[in-house]
């Protein structure tokens, strides 16, 4: 029963090709737009998510400052108030799995005839754990290196490329501000951060080396910021409060006085970014869906015209034995066929468009299987939904009225 009806639906579509194509165009554009928009949204989302993953998980950043000096309020981090002793005290807190005090600065690095200006971060071995960072080769420096302030360094990929090209830098000696440093290893590639900075353009050295030998500071033993990692997302609010209490106590800040440090929950900030990306992707999809609905209305419109035009044909069919449901099925199949074929072309165009966008703009665009499956489902549903009314209208005609229709 279905098969002859399918071939009849096919023939009916072929009878007025231009009109069928224009009707399909609504579906094609709708489905294509949904696929493309979802792909772009998904691309943005995955970019944000990979940046977040590269940042490290359950992360706090503790900044020193702001202090007031003679009525002039300094910005956060202007005056280092956090010390390595603070870091050790925080590490003892329950719920804190690692802490990495950081003393960053910029320095010129020289190897052979190459030189490169980059960010040098003085920190502890925990930094790698906090940032979920692994080594591509070599070994990390140790707590012993930190204690004795040795001149050793770990290089980011960008630094390696600029100074060494394709050579392996492990075991080589570089010069930072004219002092020799032994390269212990190379950091794995991490890519861009959320704000677009190149995270691989960096050099890690022991925090003590940075403080005493490289940058030198008027406040011995202080750091500009610390990164702390909580054991789980669940304990983060509690850990945040405990760290604040501990630091206020250690810095002798009385009730009612402003903190001389600030704690930021980086993971929460990132999650906000991720949510924003998700909302963006949903919105793109929703806007594209509107065109899908408009396409569906186009199908309904044409099917209504078709039922009117073919009233006599319906009458003939009924006169030779077609039941209401046979006529209903015939028109419904036609509507579904138009929307499904439109959907297939739309998927092809959408995927093609996504590839084109990623090629032209360099944006990451991800076409997911669920979005294609969903498009097919929605297209079939639209065919049934918008084809139902015209088909039912056809099936309810009285044979004699349909036959007499001119």
């Amino acid at each position: 029963m279905i098969f002859p009806m399918l071939s009849e639906a096919w023939a009916a579509m072929g009878a007025n090709r231009l009109r069928t194509f224009l009707t399909m165009l609504g579906m094609i554009i709708g489905v294509g737009a949904v696929i493309l928009m979802l792909a772009i949204g998904q691309g943005v989302r995955s970019q944000v998510e990979s940046s977040i993953a590269s940042m490290g998980s359950n992360l706090f950043i503790i900044l020193s400052g702001s202090t007031t000096s003679g009525g002039v309020r300094m910005g956060g981090g202007a005056t280092p108030t956090l010390t390595l002793a603070d870091a050790q005290a925080i590490e003892e807190l329950p719920g804190v799995s690692a802490i990495a005090p950081s003393a960053p600065g910029t320095a010129q690095i020289v190897y052979g005839s190459n030189n490169w200006s980059t960010q040098v971060i003085g920190t502890t071995p925990s930094y790698l754990q906090v940032r979920d960072w692994t080594l591509a080769s070599g070994a990390p420096f140790t707590d012993a290196d930190v204690r004795s302030a040795t001149r050793v360094a770990l290089l980011g990929q960008t630094v390696v490329e600029n100074l060494f090209g394709n050579d392996d830098p492990t075991g080589k000696t570089i010069r930072i501000k004219n002092s020799p440093y032994l390269v212990l290893g190379v950091l794995a590639e991490k890519g861009q951060s959320l704000d677009g900075r190149d995270q691989d353009d960096t050099v890690l050295i022991p925090v003590t080396t940075a403080q005493r030998k490289l940058f030198g500071t008027q406040f011995q033993g202080t750091v500009r910021f610390m990164m702390a990692q909580a054991e789980s997302a669940a304990v983060m609010p509690e850990v945040e409060k405990e760290m604040a209490d501990l630091l206020r106590q250690r810095h002798h800040i009385r009730e009612g006085e402003d903190d001389d440090f600030s704690i930021r929950n980086l993971t929460a900030l990132m999650n906000t970014a991720a949510t924003t990306a998700q909302v963006l992707s949903l919105m793109l999809g929703a806007i594209a869906s509107i065109s899908l609905v408009v396409g569906g209305i186009g199908i309904m419109n044409i099917m209504l015209v078709s039922v009117t035009e073919r009233t006599r044909e319906i009458g003939i069919r009924m006169a030779i034995g077609a039941r209401g449901r046979d006529v209903l099925l015939q028109f419904l199949l036609e509507a579904i066929m138009i929307s499904l074929i439109g959907c297939i072309i739309g998927v092809l165009l959408g995927v093609g468009g996504a590839l084109l966008v990623s090629k032209v703009s360099g944006m990451s665009v991800i076409v997911t299987a669920p979005s294609i499956v969903m498009s097919f489902g929605v297209a079939a549903a639209i065919g049934i939904f918008f084809g139902w009314y015209p088909a039912r209208k056809a099936s309810r005609l009285k044979p004699i009225d349909a036959l007499r229709y001119q």
Binding site: M1, F3, P4, M5, E8, A11, A12, A15, R312, E313, G315, I316, R317, M318, A319, I320, G321, A322, R323, G324, R325, D326, K398, P399, I400, L403
Partner: protein, 245 residues
């Protein structure tokens, strides 16, 4: 007529039909009593507006009576659902129209096979039976042609093949020669006579031409919604046989 052997194919008693219009019901048929037994060949004549087309549409289950009884093969047509009426049109009745009413987009074979689709006949058998029927009406070679590629007489033959394809006991023809020239009309009527005499198919046809009515054996003449003559064609007076268009 009732004294003939066999149960009647058609049995109609006190059949009334009125059309509902904005100005109220307009009566068309005023109580008809007719029986048709298997194997009969009946011509229905009457002037325009006498209700013969309305009567034919009711016979063909395309329209329903306002009151009265219509038994088709012993089944009360007025009590049938829409689907059951479709089934009657599909398997019990073969309808032939004045305007042929073929589907222009389908080839002749598909046109003839169409009723079989609705009675769920498998494809191979549909094709075989459509071929057989086309052969029977002398168009066996034209299965792949389309209705607009053949003459009016040939189209009517295809329509007859379509009416026959489900092997009905009853053929209803509403002015089957109305759109055809005299020579072609004769061929079509010869085909009807053959179906009636050789295959024993009951035929009821509406016409306004005495020549065409002459092929039948029984004449029913309507005037203003009433039967004014019902008897053998050869006994009908010239007045009852006169052209009515």
């Amino acid at each position: 007529m009732k004294e003939q052997a066999g149960d009647p194919v058609i049995r109609i008693e006190r059949l009334h039909k009125a059309y509902d219009t904005d100005a109220g019901p307009v009566p068309v048929l005023h109580g008809l009593d007719v029986s048709v037994t298997p194997g009969e060949f009946v011509a229905i004549m009457g002037p325009s507006g006498s209700g013969k087309s309305t009567f034919m549409n009711i016979l063909g289950c395309l329209d329903v009576a306002s009151s009265g009884t219509y038994l088709l093969n012993g089944r009360d047509v007025n009590a049938q659902s829409r689907d059951e009426l479709a089934h009657l049109r599909n398997e019990v009745i073969g309808f032939v129209f004045q305007g042929f009413n073929l589907l222009p987009r389908a080839n002749l074979e598909d046109n003839v096979a169409l009723p079989l689709i609705y009675s769920r006949v498998p494809r191979a058998e549909r094709v075989a039976r459509a071929q057989e029927m086309l052969g029977k009406v002398g168009l066996g070679k034209y299965g792949r042609s389309f209705p607009n590629q053949i003459s009016g007489g040939q189209q009517q033959r295809v329509a007859i093949a379509r009416a026959l394809v489900n092997r009905p006991k009853l053929i209803l023809a509403d002015e089957p020669t109305g759109n055809l020239d005299t020579r072609t009309s004769k061929e079509i009527m010869a085909l009807f006579s053959e179906l009636n005499q050789r295959d024993g198919i009951t035929i009821v046809l509406v016409t306004h031409e005495p020549d065409i009515a002459g092929y039948a054996r029984r004449l029913v003449r309507l005037s203003d919604g009433l039967i004014v003559y019902d008897g053998p064609v050869e006994h009908a007076s010239a007045q009852h046989l006169e052209a009515t268009s």
